[in-house]
Amino acid sequence: MHLFRFATSIYGDSDVVIGASWDLLPWFVGAGAALILAHAVLKAVARGRLRQAAEIDQ
């Protein structure tokens, strides 16, 4: 997997960067999904603990 897209220079002797690699697209989507999932799980666990604490108080 590359970070950048490359093309051959007009002189044909080297590669030049022409932009970000689109191979990274799933990683950015995955990062968003992972953050959302982690937050949702943490919130659910915290809510469960609060409910447990409330039941113990009663």
């Binding site: 950048f4 030049v16 932009g19 970000a20 697209l25 953050l35 959302i36």
Partner: protein, 224 residues
């Protein structure tokens, strides 16, 4: 109910409201949201295989986003309280206290935020950097295409400089996918509905204001 009673009831309901977003700011928000979604669709759908004539819609929507961003900067600096969106020492202290509570280290509970929470301010800072990056790099990339308004001039920059400009545009655009996903997720979470509703209706109830915000840090007049 008589007409005067109905009027009194409506006035009472209005008095219970705290204005959070002016109509012009809500229109700005939703126009920006629509243009960002169109830009993301026209940028990434062709990459994942949906072939269509995307370029004209992409650059014209990019111009719309540029004008919206300029409008927002001017409005924020002149007519809005831009300091409400700046991270201050109270935010850092509250962030630290919230973190300590989350990892069960105890200590003082965090105070209520002002109009915006620390994470909202950090999100705004990050998305501002990303949007400014795509807008500036996108405007430079317009030099590479013919439009009814100008002729292309690809010799404006050297090849490696064009590579850097295209890379900034691509990385910032891909990072925006992550940030848009997070934004939509939080807007849909039940405990944040009061904020999402305020971006639709413009106001929050006085109970929501007192429950969620520090009235010393976000001072509102009695008239809302």
């Amino acid at each position: 109910m008589s007409a005067s009673e109905a009027l009194a009831s409506t006035s009472l309901a209005r008095a219970d409201r705290v204005k959070r977003h002016a109509p012009v700011d809500r229109i700005y928000h939703w126009l920006t949201a629509a243009s960002v979604l169109v830009l993301m669709g026209t940028a990434f759908l062709p990459i994942i295989g949906w072939k269509f004539e995307w370029l004209t819609l992409h650059w014209t929507t990019g111009i719309v986003l540029t004008l919206l961003v300029l409008f927002h900067i001017v409005r924020a600096l002149i007519w809005q309280d831009w300091r409400a969106m700046v991270v201050d020492m109270a935010d850092i202290r509250n962030g630290w206290r919230a973190l300590a509570h989350a990892v069960r280290r105890g200590g003082a509970a965090p105070d209520k935020p002002g109009k915006y929470k620390l994470l909202q301010k950090l999100y705004h800072l990050a998305i501002a950097i990303l949007v400014l990056s795509v807008v500036v790099s996108g405007l430079l990339m317009l030099l590479k295409i013919d439009t009814p308004l100008w002729r292309r001039n690809p010799y404006w920059f050297a090849a490696d400089t064009w590579g850097a400009i295209y890379s900034i545009h691509g990385f910032a655009a891909m990072a925006m996918i992550t940030f848009v996903m997070i934004h939509i997720y939080f807007a849909l979470r039940p405990e944040e509905w009061w904020l999402t509703r305020s971006m639709l209706r413009g106001w929050i109830s006085r109970a929501e204001y007192l429950n969620h915000c520090d009235s010393k840090r976000w001072v509102v007049s009695d008239r809302g």
